[in-house]
């Protein structure tokens, strides 16, 4: 049970931290102007030179291996929705790490998502 909690924490906190680092890298890289493969590849190529990408990838890799281990003994339709708790971590990280403005409407949405996740856990 303890191992299960540790793995969930790794998936949620470290995984979200990694995604926030990706967000930081993409904000530093610039915006995708056109939905065209060549533009997308050029943008991703530039992003690879930003240090935040690599920090994010390392954190996400840790979360990925934790997820693979979790999925070996838990049902996918339980594990994946529980990782939605990362919305809360993500919104706080978005404000403090990325300088985003999270409106009341977004907070309501995040609150509903957390309630939904709790329902999923209780239904187990």
């Amino acid at each position: 049970m303890t191992l299960e909690y540790i793995l969930f924490i790794l998936v949620i906190v470290v995984g979200t931290g990694g995604e926030l680092c990706l967000g930081r890298a993409m904000k530093e890289t610039g915006e995708l102007k056109r939905l065209h493969p060549s533009d997308a590849m050029r943008l991703l190529g530039r992003a690879l030179r930003v240090k935040w990408i690599w920090i994010g990838v390392a954190m996400m890799a840790t979360a990925f291996f934790s997820l693979v281990t979790l999925l070996s003994f838990e049902e996918v339709s339980f594990v994946v929705p529980v990782t939605a708790l990362s919305y809360l971590v993500g919104a706080v990280g978005g404000i403090f790490f990325l300088g985003e403005r999270v409106s009341w409407q977004r907070w309501v949405g995040i609150g509903l998502v957390c309630i939904g996740v709790t329902m999923v856990v209780i239904s187990r």
């Binding site: 191992l3 979200t16 995604e19 926030l20 990706l22 967000g23 890298a25 993409m26 904000k27 890289t29 610039g30 915006e31 995708l32 939905l35 997308a40 943008l43 991703l44 992003a47 997820l67 693979v68 281990t69 999925l71 070996s72 003994f73 049902e75 996918v76 339709s77 339980f78 994946v80 929705p81 939605a84 990362s86 919305y87 993500g90 919104a91 990280g93 978005g94 990325l98 300088g99 985003e100 403005r101 999270v102 409106s103 409407q105 977004r106 309501v108 949405g109 995040i110 609150g111 509903l112 998502v113 309630i115 939904g116 996740v117 709790t118 329902m119 999923v120 209780i122 239904s123 187990r124």
Partner: protein, 153 residues
């Protein structure tokens, strides 16, 4: 139905740039909600074929990972997740993290359906209700402006 205005939007009609931003954001999120769940499903399928992973002793863990990574299914899953990451990174270049991440939660409904239909997992009614609430939350988030930093118009 138009999404309600937030404090980051003006009362004027959306500009062309504004529309482009929405189009790009929704298309990339659309890619995410398909590739993400399919990737996770394939991962689950490949790990279930191996059985429960013992994390100790270390030799057991290594041998389990070798068995997992020698299956085709996990590589198909990893390919989907790479496509997911690319779509995610591109979406993050045009929209807020706190917008893209929750909006991609529509994928949870997709994964529950796939879990039931392909892996034959049981999903309780309360579980479905939880997924419905998650989707309602996502609809609130989608009503906000996708970008609040940089050159948000």
């Amino acid at each position: 139905m138009n999404p309600p205005l937030t404090e980051t939007q003006t009362e004027t009609a959306p500009s062309e740039v504004h529309k482009q931003l929405h189009l790009k954001t929704y298309l990339l999120i659309g890619m995410m909600i398909i590739t993400g769940p399919v990737g996770n499903l394939l991962l689950a399928k490949s790990t279930k074929q191996v059985g429960e992973i013992k994390v100790w002793p270390l030799s057991e863990l290594i041998s389990a990972f070798v068995r997992i990574f020698s299956s085709f299914t996990i590589w198909a899953g990893i390919s989907c997740l790479i496509a997911f990451i690319i779509a995610y990174m591109l979406a993050l270049s045009v929209a807020d993290y706190s917008f893209v991440q929750p909006a991609a939660a529509l994928g949870y409904a997709v994964i529950a359906v796939l879990g039931v239909t392909i892996l034959h997992e049981k999903v309780a009614p309360l579980h479905w209700a939880g997924i419905a609430v998650i989707c309602l939350g996502v609809s609130f988030i989608r009503g906000t402006h996708p970008r609040t930093t940089g050159n948000s118009d």
